[in-house]
Amino acid sequence: MPKRQFVVIGLGRFGHHVALSLAQKGCEVLAIDSSEDSVAAVADHVTQAVQCDATDEKALRALGVNNFDVAVVSIGENIEASILIVMTIKELGVKEIIAKAVTPIHGKVLSNLGIAKVVFPERDAAIRVANSLVAPNIIDYLELSSNYSIVEIPVAEGMVDKMLKETDIRAKHGLTVIAIRRKVPYINDEGESDFTEELRVSPSADDKIAEGDILVVLGSNNRIASYEASR
């Protein structure tokens, strides 16, 4: 399968990390920003980093932005520029566009432009922090709908060495374990001990829980909250 090519427009905090993360995963990344410093900060890590005014259609065309599979528009401070750039790259023919929004209205406008996804990084980070404060045992949280979520919960001490069916997680709490994240120790190339994580998707009821396991659990928000409170 050919590598997907990404263009990241706007290299503020969010765009900077998106560009670096994609590059670290081996993707081809073109990073664009109007600030020379922001471009310089990613230049050594991405395939190509260019300083230019991304609201200029000719500049985007000259860079061949239309040849990219995915565009990430990460411009929050200047809403007008964000919308203009999204419209331009859509017209240039980029099929998948993801854009950052900073306000609900900004998000609504971007959404109405028919792009693949609108993200609210600050709002999402705030919700995650709030969730982790309210339920400190929950490691990660993905809201599926207003009523259902997937959460990651470390196993309680009493669950270790029990089979999944022997725990009360499904029978009493009505939650479904969809995967188990298990730590696997190893010695790394430098001779240091370390561990990696193995994901056991769709575990069977007979699977035994090990110490340090993290359960990936699907359920209604009410049931997740009551399970969390019972621990």
Partner: protein, 98 residues
């Protein structure tokens, strides 16, 4: 030189013995004998309280058991005794999320 340890016993400081206990602790860790590994690494630190590998390995075990505050403390101690300990710095960075 003798060093008093919390349980009232005293052991003679011996960095070589400490290194041997770290190796044994790593062996228990690889075999997922977590409690035995912790006990052995604590022994390693009794013989050399400045052994960064003892703290680092304890940090890895605590992290693997989801005991993040304890893991963080151990990685910080490893770095205190060996600031250039790359693996400890990387684990600490991951835990703190910086």
């Amino acid at each position: 030189m003798l060093k008093n340890i919390p349980n009232g016993n005293a052991v003679e400081l011996d960095p070589k013995k400490s290194a041997e206990y770290v190796e044994l602790g790593e062996f228990y860790f690889i075999n997922q004998k977590w409690d035995k590994a912790i006990e052995t690494l604590q022994k390693a630190l009794e013989y050399d309280p400045k052994n960064p590998e003892g703290y680092y390995n304890l940090g890895v075990i605590f992290e693997a058991r989801n005991k993040k505050p304890d893991a963080k403390e151990m990685f910080e101690k490893a770095l205190h005794h060996k600031p250039e300990h790359k693996a400890a710095a990387e684990h600490l960075r991951r835990l703190v999320g910086a």
